[in-house]
C-alpha cells in the first residue's frame, strides 16, 4: 500500500521534473553567456583576479593555527594530491552532524575540531582564500555529488526550495534559471544558474564571493528574505544545484559579470 503510493508519487515527480528541468545536452555554464573579454579574463590565470585569493589560500594552507598549532598541510600534506576532486563532491554529509555541509563549512569544521581554532567568518578574505585554493584543485573535474543515500532527502528539499515562489516579486529560482535562461533581465543575461565556478570573482562585487553570497543576492533580487549564511536551506540549495549540474566541469575561481 505504502510502496504503491510511493511509486505513484515518484512517477508524478518524474513527469514534473522532466517538464521543468534543462535537458542534459543543453546545460551551459555561466561562462558561455559572458562577453569574450570576460571569458578571456577567466581563461588566463595571470589576469584572473581570483588567483590572488588562491595564492593567499596556498599560504594559509601551510600556516599553523589554533590550540593544536597545526596547519592544514600537517594533516592533508600536498593539496594538489589530497584535495584533487574534493570540491566536486561537496556539499557532503558530515558524519557527526548527520547533515550536509558545504566546502566552507567543511573547512571551518577542520578549523574548530582539528585545529581547535575559531571558525572563519563567511566571506572573510581567509575563508574565501582557503576555499578558492581547495576548489582550484578540482578545476576541470566533473561535478559528482556523492551517492550517499543520506543525501537524497536534502537534495529533494533543495529542489523544493528551487521551485518555490517567494519574495514580494513572487518568483521561484526555476522561473528564471529553468524557464527563461538565455533571456535578459534588463541588462543581465539570465544563465542556467550552475554552481560551477565558486568561489568566483564577480566584476560587480569587485571581489571573490561564495555560492551562498550569490544565492542570497538572487533572493534579495526577488525581494525575499535571504537565508542567513550557513543556514541549512542554503546548503540544501547548493546541493540541489550541484546535483542539477552533475557531470559539468568545475572552473573555480571563475569570473562572472
Amino acid at each position: 500500500m505504502r510502496l504503491a503510493g510511493l511509486i505513484v508519487l515518484s512517477a508524478l515527480f518524474a513527469v514534473d521534473a522532466a517538464s521543468a528541468e534543462i535537458p542534459q545536452a543543453e546545460r551551459r555554464s555561466g561562462y558561455s553567456f559572458m562577453a569574450p573579454d570576460t571569458r578571456a579574463m577567466q581563461d588566463d590565470d595571470t589576469i584572473n583576479p581570483g588567483m590572488l585569493w588562491v595564492l593567499d589560500g596556498e599560504k594559509l594552507w601551510a600556516r599553523k593555527s589554533g590550540v593544536t598549532n597545526k596547519a592544514c598541510a600537517d594533516c592533508h600534506q600536498d593539496a594538489r594530491a589530497s584535495m584533487k576532486g574534493v570540491a566536486a563532491h561537496y556539499p557532503a554529509i558530515d558524519k557527526a552532524l548527520g547533515r550536509p555541509v558545504d566546502l566552507e563549512q567543511r573547512i571551518n569544521l577542520c578549523r574548530t575540531t582539528h585545529q581547535q581554532a575559531t571558525p572563519l567568518p563567511y566571506e572573510s578574505r581567509e575563508l574565501l582564500a582557503l576555499t578558492a585554493f581547495v576548489a582550484q584543485q578540482s578545476r576541470g573535474a566533473a561535478i559528482e555529488p556523492g551517492n550517499d543515500p543520506q543525501l537524497a532527502p536534502f537534495v529533494a528539499k533543495g529542489r523544493e526550495l528551487f521551485m518555490q515562489r517567494q519574495g514580494q516579486l513572487n518568483l521561484g529560482c526555476t522561473n528564471c534559471h529553468d524557464e527563461n535562461w538565455d533571456k535578459r533581465l534588463a541588462g543581465s543575461a539570465i544563465t542556467q544558474g550552475h554552481p560551477t565556478g565558486y568561489p568566483l570573482y564577480r566584476l560587480e562585487w569587485q571581489s571573490l564571493g561564495s555560492l551562498q553570497r550569490r544565492l542570497r543576492a538572487c533572493m534579495t533580487g526577488i525581494r525575499a528574505q535571504a537565508y542567513d549564511y550557513g543556514a541549512p536551506e542554503l546548503v540544501e540549495l547548493e546541493l540541489y544545484l550541484m546535483s542539477r549540474a552533475r557531470g559539468m566541469p568545475l572552473e573555480a575561481p571563475a569570473i562572472r559579470p
Partner: protein, 145 residues
Amino acid sequence: MSGPILAGALLALPGLAAAQELRGYAVTGDAIAKSLTGAPGDPARGRTTLLNRQSTCILCHNGPFPEEKFQGDLAPNLVGSGSRWSEGQLRLRLVDASRLNEATIMPSYYRVDGLHRVGPAWRGKPILSAEQIEDIVAYLVTLRE
C-alpha cells in the same frame, strides 16, 4: 482575451493588516472597471514610474523607451498594449496578473497575501501604490499601434 475569466464580480478581500493599506476593488470578468483611487491617473507620471527600476517593469519588458539602454526580453514588448487591452483589463493585469494566468511570472503589483518569505523591507506592502498603478494604466492606454 475572450470570455470572462472569473465568474461574475469578485470583491477582493485583503487580510486585516492589509486592509489599512490596500483599497478594495471589484473584478468583473477579466477587468477592474473602476479606478483604484476614484480618479484618473497621470500618463506622463505613469511613464516615469514605469521606467523607474524600483517598479521592476523593464526588468522583464521592453517598449518604446529609446533612452533606456537596458530592457528585458522575458515579456512582450509593451508597444500596442493600449490597443490590445482595455483600461480595465490593464488595471487587473497590474493589480494581480495571476488572476489572468495562474502560471505567469509577472508579479502582482497590488497584492500582499499568498506570498512567501517577503523581505522585511517589503513585507505587508504592495509593490506599487494605487496612485502609481493608476498612473501606469493611464500611460499604457496611450500605447496604441
